[in-house]
Amino acid sequence: MQTEERIERRSMTTLLPARVDNVPMIRIEPSKGWVSLKLRELWQYRELLYFLIWRDVKVRYKQTVLGAAWAIIQPFFTMVVFSLFFGKLAKVPSDGIPYPVFSYAALVPWTFFAQGLNQASNSLVSQAGLIKKVYFPRLAIPSARVLAGTVDFVLAFIVLLGMMLAYGIVPTVNALWLPFLLLLALITSLGTALWLSAMNVQFRDVSYIVPFITQFWLFATPIAYPSSLLPEPWRTLYGINPMAGVVEGFRWALLGTDTAPGSIIIVSSLAALTLLVGGAFYFRRMERTFADVV
């Protein structure tokens, strides 16, 4: 039986077209200076990327009582706290939108960004075992972590739609821009995480710095307050923080705030792309030492 099987397998391989001419050749040698991003290789490994995302999604809320509800609890309760202190007590303006919806519409993309940044910054260190034992484009690790956050985003976003319904707010046609805005948040999150995760391999201090960064960044982003508080040239410059563009974009697209964020978005997109491209090159440059140092 077994021999029969083997014979069958052999004859099958002989039937296959000979691959001798197009055998992939890889040269392994020391790399010097800045290296290419090898995006094509990353594309070849897209199935692995898919499985890593799938794993992160599956595992994220294992052994928790509330499970996926955490994806909603975090932004929702932050919104409650913001509404109490900034909305009710400090009377922060909200571009004519009820304050809870105003802040929650910003907290949904923000949480996606912050969670992604947080998870991805630690991703290389927490998966040291993988890095030391298998080869694949390392860019897949932080990318998977950030992308896995989209599931949480969708859950929190559904709650946002529910809140809008409750307040009788109808989304505008501009909601078609939402995928682009989400992509911008993703690029910002991944771009920052590439820098931080690569540094974290060498300097574990980064794990302690990340919570600070997200905390400062939260208040440096118009989440609890509108960017319309700033006069014009400054408001556009505010876009240097890409999350400012994302957050104002979300409000504009969903809630119809009349502060069309055109110029902010352009500045934000440029800033986010710079962050991502720079981060990717830095990551690739540091990558060669990951397996030895992590």
Binding site: P24, E29, E47, Y50, F203, R204, D205
Partner: protein, 437 residues
Amino acid sequence: MSDIAIRVESLGKLYRIGKLEKHRTLRDTLADAFLSPFRRASKLLRGQATGAAELDETIWALKDVSFEVKRGEVVGIIGRNGAGKSTLLKVLSRITEPTAGFADIYGRVGALLEVGTGFHQELTGRENIYLNGAILGMRRAEIDRKFDEIVSFAEVEKFIDTPVKHYSSGMGLRLGFAVAAHLEPEILLVDEVLAVGDARFQKKCLNKMQDVGQQGRTVLFVSHNMPAITRLCERAILLDEGKVLEDSPSHKVVSAYLSSGLGTTAVREWPDPAKAPSGDVARLRAVRVRKENGQIADAVDIRRPVAIEMEYEVLKSGYVLLPYYDFFNEEGVQVFTAVDQDPAWRKRPRPTGRYVSKAWIPGNLLSEGMLIANAVVITLNPNTLQFYEHDAVAFQVIDSLDGDSARGDWAGKMVGAVRPLLKWSTHFSPDQTTQTV
């Protein structure tokens, strides 16, 4: 198109050790940057030279390694711990970059440096097969196709939808190996993964690997298991201190390795208990080969008896121990197994203490050449492996041409795993030849 699968040319890998430690914090770097001028100044004041010694200490894990592997060749890599075997595989599988030289790889590479890499404890066996398969470079469709085969190879059918955290360690390892064994790359790099599981499963894995070799795949195989090397590989490379010491047919390399004192010798001792092979109950401290007069011997006369002794400690009292040896020749054939028969300790729970168990192999039994002993102790009821030390000791058996050994007056080549001296008798009847005319 040439028939070369791997070409390695003056490959080198430099590791920094000592000063540059893992996980240094920013504070350390800053403190170093700030303090080192002072340290240096104070050393200068005390009249100590500063210079090269101050620099980071480095070590060449691989140095000037060159070799070629042909398509379809199965090559073993041997050498003692720290010889650079694993580093070589890590460089060839692109996990880490070389510092010097280069390597060309022609074909799709699959590397198996650890069993069950990326297994997630919370995921089920089924989910982990997909995850692990993807990590090792299998396509999803490929995993779909081989799924049932993998599950039955691992013998975990009943638990396939149970989270892996509820698996026994043996089941986890089996599942991990099963996935890896179904990889079908053109070039397979394997590191020491056969040191897993029970003996029966190890054998199954070895057979699977042998199949792989017969399918015309190129395999680089790192192992401490010399019999496995000689059985699976036609050629072997011996590494020592990052350099290639020998590169020739595997049985030659293995016997060079064994007799060079780099690996197995007639005496193995573990002065440091922390590093000794050990289970909960018993710990191996030494294995020795002795001649009749008690001398340590790495070569014995084929006609004389030879003793293999193992010295071990019993750490917990009240267990029945079963020491035994597995004997292999340099072709990797298991010649026989010898189980402790000493009536003094048979079926008797042992108190803690140090024991030396000696097994005498009679003269005129073994074949000429290398004999390798694996030293094992198990505790009975339930049967639990305490330690299994591969290639614990080895010695040469030398046949003389004196005429009183089993070869008699024959001076030519003799094959066979054993060479017992048998009692021969010849009956003679004169004048009874049959006439053919």
